[in-house]
Symmetry: C2
Subunit: 211 residues, 2 copies
């Protein structure tokens, strides 16, 4: 049976189930750990399910943050030093990744609290997650406050990326299933994707092929 | 072996592999069909992998569009009539969904070209995809042009949502695996997620439980 809910139905729900439901609705989401460093050298690590591709030339990625609530450190650190890392989550670290969403006090790094290892590479001004297999280093380029609810779209330009060499195909496709990257849904569920197919470039009047 | 690519390496790649690679880097992505209607009643349907959750109260979702290239119809229709639908993709329709990315001429609806069925429900001013199992109807609320590359973040407020009743748990969690929703990577690959676990709400000094 198909169920319909209207905006009024949703507004009438208790907060917790409403937040779960609405977070379920965009479909499966990327699961990434964003690493930053504060002015005093404090490291911060937080899980995000809103990282998206903004463009390929230049390579741009964005995510949504809340400025005054649980993810404030990420926002403040990026505003202070201009750099951040995006680290894919794999089955070996998803519990630690989830645990970074706990509200630790300001002096506690989520790295030490969860047992993930901060990795500083060269002079890049934000910590990577050593246990992650696909790691992006970005420089902040612009932000867009969302008027309707006060969240902020943060955008960074890729400076460097690390991944397992044997996951890169000749045509530029990076095999995330092979790299162990997982996906998520709602607020708290994690999934391992299994390939259905890769499809050829779509053109009118030409049948698709699996590639 | 871990491979490193810098911004310079990436800028030196050929366009097609660069676009594949950069599109692989945010991790697994939501796969959705966005349905709109033009001023003359023409229907349009396009696949997007950038739909994200922006907020739960009010329920807001966003996606990235390019105003002057392949997804122009989606943008123009939303600007013209203010409404759009977001429809989850499942294994039965992923080929048709992929095929909507072909550049059909202005007079051809991607619905008729791909064999997907436009579904008008009540007086909602945008077509749903009948074959989709999770369907969101949204009203446009704001847009944010991205300065660095000219793409646009479009944001809509949920007005109504349809889903299989037996996929909704008491706590508001919508079981997308049961609903048949799939995920994607890069430009052209589709995956079926298999559940690893749902984890309890994270608090400092309390171990996580599977729920």
């Amino acid at each position: 049976m198909e169920k319909k809910l209207t905006l009024t139905d949703i507004a009438g729900m208790d907060k917790r189930p409403r937040v779960q439901l609405i977070n379920s609705l965009p479909g499966f989401k990327s699961v990434n750990l964003i690493g930053t460093m504060g002015e005093g050298g404090n490291t911060n690590l937080a899980i995000f399910s809103s990282v998206i591709h903004i463009g390929s030339n230049p390579p741009l990625f964005g995510f949504i943050t809340r400025p005054v609530t649980v993810t404030r450190d990420t926002y403040e650190n990026i505003m202070a030093n201009g750099y951040f890392t995006i680290n894919h989550v794999n089955p070996e670290i998803y519990k630690q990744a989830h645990q970074t969403s706990a509200r630790y006090d300001k002096d506690t790094s989520e790295f030490s609290a969860t047992g993930l290892t901060p990795e500083f590479i060269g002079d890049f001004a934000a910590p990577y997650v050593k246990e992650s297999h696909v790691k992006l280093g970005l420089q902040f380029v612009e932000k867009h406050p969302i008027e309707t609810n006060g969240t902020i779209l943060m955008i960074g330009k890729l400076q460097e990326v690390y991944f397992p060499e044997n996951c890169l195909l000749e045509d530029g496709f990076l095999d995330l299933e092979k790299a162990g990257t997982i996906t998520g849904s709602a607020l708290d569920s994690y999934y391992q994707p299994q390939k259905i197919a890769r499809l050829s470039y779509a053109k009118p009047d030409r049948p698709l092929k699996e590639i």
